[in-house]
Symmetry: none
Subunit: 219 residues, 4 copies
Amino acid sequence: MSTRHSEHRWRRRAEARPRELLDAALAEFVARGYAATRLEEVARRAGVSKGTLYLYYANKAELFKAVVRQALVANFEQAEAAMAIRRGSARERLVFYLTEFTRRVSESELSGIPKLVLAEAGNFPEIARFYHEEVVQRARRMIQETLLQGMASGEFRSLDPDHAWRVVIAPLLLGILWKHSFQAFEPEELDFERHLACHLDLLFNGLAGPASGHGKDLP
Amino acid sequence: MSTRHSEHRWRRRAEARPRELLDAALAEFVARGYAATRLEEVARRAGVSKGTLYLYYANKAELFKAVVRQALVANFEQAEAAMAIRRGSARERLVFYLTEFTRRVSESELSGIPKLVLAEAGNFPEIARFYHEEVVQRARRMIQETLLQGMASGEFRSLDPDHAWRVVIAPLLLGILWKHSFQAFEPEELDFERHLACHLDLLFNGLAGPASGHGKDLP
Amino acid sequence: MSTRHSEHRWRRRAEARPRELLDAALAEFVARGYAATRLEEVARRAGVSKGTLYLYYANKAELFKAVVRQALVANFEQAEAAMAIRRGSARERLVFYLTEFTRRVSESELSGIPKLVLAEAGNFPEIARFYHEEVVQRARRMIQETLLQGMASGEFRSLDPDHAWRVVIAPLLLGILWKHSFQAFEPEELDFERHLACHLDLLFNGLAGPASGHGKDLP
Amino acid sequence: MSTRHSEHRWRRRAEARPRELLDAALAEFVARGYAATRLEEVARRAGVSKGTLYLYYANKAELFKAVVRQALVANFEQAEAAMAIRRGSARERLVFYLTEFTRRVSESELSGIPKLVLAEAGNFPEIARFYHEEVVQRARRMIQETLLQGMASGEFRSLDPDHAWRVVIAPLLLGILWKHSFQAFEPEELDFERHLACHLDLLFNGLAGPASGHGKDLP
DNA sequence: TATGAATGAGAGTTCATTCAT
DNA sequence: TATGAATGAACTCTCATTCAT
């Protein structure tokens, strides 16, 4: 019966909605920040009416949280899972992790999330805490663990484990913020691949010493 | 004479006002972002009434710009001047620059500015461009120049000059954002001194090489 | 079907709104002037909320302009069209024009428009110019033309065509202003019919008795 | 002693103030209307500070009333006094009155007053009533009386005394409003002298040729 | 008497949210 | 489920008024 058919389509439509809405919302939130984002714009971008948003999300704040949550749940966890299983030398694992992050986050739409969370942390401590626990802490654990592994195996020098992980991650974050804040004023786009390569080169080999100076052995 | 005295106090009040207002505004803008900052709160924090703000700044956007401008003009330039004169090895100069930045910006109230600019770049391209030119480009030049000096003198290995400068700066920025966004969820405060030390250690020596493993020679 | 019915009502409401708003706004603007009119009052008079006004007009100034425009477009043009076709002696045409104006403007709600425009000309040169072109100039042309016709045919004496038209119109305007400004302090309402009759009597016959008809000895 | 001297000057200065303030206020009120006039502008135009206004007038409304009152008291009464004594034929008296009004009001700064009062009558019934009593009623009496004199003496035809006075005055008012509202859009300035001459010509002789002097056939 | 910095009530405007359809 | 007209709280900005000097 046609009823069934159309009902089916309805269902799928209804289930598809949130994704469209979240995508539209993400784009607006990233571009303007939470407060300056107008729900009317989000709706327009998603091709629905303002009222429709309220059929799926109780209010603006819930929509915002859903945007962040969905983005994290969908992607970060996945990436981490891949990483967790990863076997190999500490160096290999580190390179893998940073490369994955670059591909999955820095170069994707998803890069808006960190920017957004950083910007709105003051107004949404709840979101900031969530992000801190779900993303920051996990990344910290993952990297610290890898660094410790490397230090134990003699691959890496002895480092301050409480601070080194931040230094390792920093360039990735900077890349993301660059893209969202200053890219517009630069003549050419940031090449994330080279950016990462440069980071890894410095990270493993340091500035000093032509003596030890050869940065070719990067993946 | 008392007349002179009181007139003096009056004058000094009027002259001190802009600074008080900018300080209050900076704090609010950093904590909540531009849109979510209510001028009434800024006024209250500065100990004046709403209307008083308008005696000094034409509107909210102008106040915002003044906040950023004043902070930059007053401090960044100063720091840079000090740096510019600095003579010595490339390494010494680099250490000096990063240390100065940490002391003057990361550890001070001023750290709110970069956070603010990054968060509002989308809504204030004018401000973003200004910051990009006045701060980012200058820092880039300064560091690139130092890196080139070091590469020329043989102190440093050969590096990608278009990307290395960002990697060098990244941990400083991350430190600032950390302080403003996630510090609240951490048991202890980020120790900028150790953070910087760790960065410099990695920067100069790299992860690899127990052979070269000694991070003592930092200032 | 009831669906159709209600949708209809809805639509009709939405379509009728602008007119209701303009009517309310006209009344308030005429009574208090532009600046002293509060949009909240306009809204209340129209039976809607403040925000609703902004669904139809971008801001107060636009509402004001719409009020004037709508009133002019709807009525003055109509009246003029009727007049334009009118055939007959110059005297007949003049009587017709002034009578029409009295009926359509002086005695109607529309009389507020001239009052409003005169009062706000300083603040709304745009509106003043619009009115000057659309109403004043047209009326001037119409009347000058009629006067010339009468002078050519010998119906009228020779007159100063640059000034006479204003004298011809003046009493109509005064009637309108009287109604809006001083009526309240008078024991009885101005009888526009008699006012017009008196004007026409004087206009055609002059003060002086037919017997003594000689008007050369003016100072 | 110089003390006396300067005190003297002070006094005169103080007494002169109100006049300067009133002149400045009149100009602003006429140009913008009551509500849109900013006391700061009035002060600036008068060359004093905002606060000084309050040393002379309790508030904006009082200043407004003072402006109107002073203008009326100073000039209208004077003109009327001159008129009252005036002896001669009704025609002479009428011509004298209208000519005086044109010279003293229409062509002077004072012309702003009628415009102002008409515009603000709704917001200042008190002022409107004052003006109605002090100016309108007096003018009405003066003119009605003259018309009656003329009708009694046979100089004038029989007229409707309740309405004729308004028709007689109307062109003067229109001239004033023209000057303040539409003058700006005209290529040349209104010539009040010719305007009055045209009015008087029509008023005494009517439109119709002396030959055809018969005014019975009005609608 | 004169100033002008400061105030705060009030108005215009925006926009998240609701609800009849 | 979807709409979009309508709402009203909240915010920016203005300006008459006050007051210490």
